[in-house]
């Protein structure tokens, strides 16, 4: 609506990530690089997906099942990417440990590893927010606003900012849970992350129904809070274990 409103929407989507960035990531340059790399990887995965689906777009916006297929394939691809990220991270960890030995510094602490996972997840979340929310916010800086037919109670920008915030949370903390699950060989954690991602993405299909976003968005936040709590429990358990 105005510059202030535009900045407001951007901060709704990215505010907590900004806080996380300033307090945790910006202090260690390596984490900034991790964040940038994971953002880039998420973007590349998105480009690959859009390349694969290009022939079928634009989809008919009245039927919902093509979108369901699209979402399922995209989430599946991204979860596969997460496993690939884990392998790359293991190799990186070995390199870092070798380097630490060489300069006679201690090896990576548990908190270090969790911070790297957090930065990776934050990168994914920020990429999501930037590409799904911020890049559409440009009209919001102008004099008017925009309403979506199916969700006419709130401006479109506000709705997309809220959804982006939920997904940022899910992405950020899923990575911590996933990396920890792979490290500990914990099956529950390993399965938890893809399931939550898929359920959350499919839940946005509820927005397809008229007035659906009134139900869809709270459900999405339930998933986000679930992820947050699970991550908190897991981190607490691991840190108090030692």
């Amino acid at each position: 609506m105005t510059v202030e409103a535009g900045i407001g929407y951007a901060l709704i989507a990215l505010g907590p990530s900004l806080a996380l960035f300033v307090s945790v990531v910006s202090k260690k340059p390596f984490l900034i690089l991790t964040l940038l790399s994971s953002t880039l990887l998420w973007l590349i995965s998105l480009i690959v997906l859009s390349g694969l689906w290009r022939a079928f777009l634009p989809l008919n916006s009245t039927t919902w099942w093509p979108y369901a297929i699209l979402i399922i394939s995209s989430v599946g691809f991204q979860e596969g990417l997460r496993i690939f990220l884990w392998r790359a991270y293991k190799r990186l960890e070995d390199i870092l440990d070798a380097f630490a030995d060489r300069v006679s510094k201690p090896r990576l602490f548990l908190t270090d590893k969790m911070q790297i996972a957090l930065a990776g997840g934050l990168g994914h979340g920020v990429a999501h927010a930037v590409f799904f929310c911020l890049s559409l916010l440009t009209p919001a800086f102008g004099p008017a606003t925009f309403f979506n037919d199916r969700c006419s109670k709130m401006p479109f920008f506000l709705v997309s900012a809220l959804i982006a915030l939920a997904f940022v949370t899910i992405h950020t903390f899923s990575m911590v849970i996933a990396f920890n699950g792979y490290a500990e060989q914990n099956k529950v954690d390993q399965v938890f992350v893809p399931v939550v991602h898929m359920v959350a993405a499919l839940m946005t299909l509820v927005n397809f129904a008229s007035g659906g976003c009134l139900v869809g968005i709270p459900l999405l936040y339930v998933m986000a809070i679930l992820t947050l709590m699970h991550c908190g429990k897991m981190v607490w358990r691991r840190l108090t274990q030692n």
Binding site: P29, L33, S50, Y67, V75, F131, G216
Partner: protein, 451 residues
């Protein structure tokens, strides 16, 4: 909660040099994007920018795509030809030891950029935002700004932030001017410059490589504008210690000249080598641009034999960019530019202005030529003229390219061109985003479906 004093992990300081280069590049790009989106120049006629880059063909909206592409190709060829010629002239001047002239020219170019380009852009801003300011105040402020800028890049004793800030501002101003070129010309020009950079630095008879080798063999500094990131100090010397010890370095350097290591000096220093510079006083945080003759280019630290090469390599780029600068200065001096009428005197100086490519500074810090700043920002600024999604994608691509170049730098230990990887990645991502990603994301997001 009380922290037990446990040893600092390796994660605390790793990658700091890279972040110190990525930050100013990001700031420059961000400023250019803001300028481009604020000064939306759809109203101002593109024909007002006639420069070296549009001599062969000036784009008109009614031309077909193929015509535009061919015209852009001619433009870029002309531009690259001029840049090559000017770089060779610079090599010649450097060979004839006209260093003082080159340095004076550099200062003059900085003044022209800050004063005239900066003035024009401020005028656009004042016009757009109806800022009430009178001519006299404006002139005085602008003049002071420009003079301080010239001193900042000329004199070594300025505060580091001031020098770095001015370099970023110069990069931003020049990049903004480049974005005013017609669209096809800009893109083809970017790719052409990337390829030229690759050739000029890596081919044996490339002008930049000649310049680097000349500077190394003479153990001299090339007068040029280059951004040098603050070196990562490891708690060593303070300011004074650095000054005192610099003399020692000079002597050491002369002795270091004898060993056979000199020949393989044609390399860019490995940032990791910086680890060794802990012990030596080079960690003295003097990051003033190599432009001033004080900092011995090679400002060798113990292992800085490599550094020499780097700074030289960096300087090579510099000359390259200065050429662009000259072309940029051209519109300022006379809008009815005619290639023929431009004397040599005008075209040479800009070379000194910018420097493409990377190197390692005397104190082990990474140096990046100003030309790289400029062309990265031009790419992102052009992407901003389409949409913000392309901006984010191109930004990530450029940073990735920069990271890859830095890794190659660490690996090959040679003077490397910083443009090719980033620009080519940026162009690829721009095209992919525009063709593929945009419709995908807009389809999903406008239906409020996200994953």
């Amino acid at each position: 909660m009380a922290q037990t004093s446990r040893p600092t992990s390796v994660l605390d300081s790793l990658g700091e040099e890279i972040v110190r280069i990525v930050t100013p590049v990001s700031i420059c790009m961000f400023l250019v994007v803001i300028l481009v989106s604020v000064l939306d120049s759809s109203s101002s006629s593109p024909t007002s920018v006639s420069s070296m880059a549009t001599i062969a063909y000036s784009e008109a909206d009614s031309d077909s795509d193929w015509d535009k592409f061919v015209g852009a190709l001619w433009n870029s060829l002309a531009f690259v030809a001029v840049v090559t010629a000017v770089t060779f002239v610079l090599v010649l001047l450097f060979y004839l030891r006209c260093t003082r002239f080159l340095k004076l020219y550099m200062g003059f170019s900085a003044f022209v950029v800050l004063g005239f380009l900066g003035g024009e852009i401020s005028l656009f801003l004042i016009q757009d935002f109806s800022i009430p300011v009178d001519c006299v105040t404006f002139f005085v402020v602008l003049f002071n700004f420009a003079v301080v800028g010239v001193l900042a890049v000329f004199v070594s004793k300025m505060a580091i932030f001031v020098t770095q800030g001015y370099l970023v501002v110069i990069g931003m101003l020049v990049a903004y001017w480049f974005t005013m070129l017609p669209e096809w010309t800009t893109w083809v020009l970017l790719v052409a410059m990337a390829l030229y950079d690759l050739a000029a630095v890596l081919l044996p008879m490339g002008p930049l490589r000649l310049l680097v080798e000349l500077a190394i063999s003479r153990d001299e500094d090339i007068p040029a504008l280059v951004y040098e990131a603050r070196p990562v100090t490891h708690g060593d010397s303070g300011h004074e210690g650095g000054v005192v010890q610099r003399r020692v370095w000079r002597e050491r350097r002369n002795s270091a000249h004898d060993p056979t290591e000199v020949p393989n000096v044609n390399s860019m220093v490995n940032p990791a080598l910086h680890g060794n510079s802990n012990n030596d006083p080079t960690s003295y945080a003097n990051t003033t641009s190599v432009a001033n003759g004080n900092t011995s280019p090679g400002s060798l630290s113990v292992n800085s034999v490599h550094n020499v090469t780097n700074s030289v390599a960096a300087q090579e780029r510099l000359s390259q960019d200065s050429e662009e600068k000259s072309e940029l200065s051209a519109p300022l001096i006379d809008h009815r530019i005619n290639v023929g009428s431009q004397g040599h005197g005008d075209t040479i100086p800009s070379e000194n202005l910018v420097l493409e490519g990377m190197g390692l500074g005397s104190s082990g810090a990474i140096k990046l030529g100003l030309g790289d700043f400029i062309f990265y920002s031009v790419l992102v600024g052009r992407a901003a003229m389409y949409d913000f999604m392309t901006v984010y994608a191109c930004y990530l691509a450029i940073i990735a390219g920069l990271g890859i170049t830095l890794m190659l730098l660490a690996f090959y230990q040679k003077a490397l061109p910083a443009l090719p990887v980033s620009v080519l990645l940026g162009v690829v991502f721009y095209i992919l985003t525009r063709l593929l990603l945009e419709i995908f994301v807009v389809q999903l997001a406008s239906n409020l479906l996200m994953f």
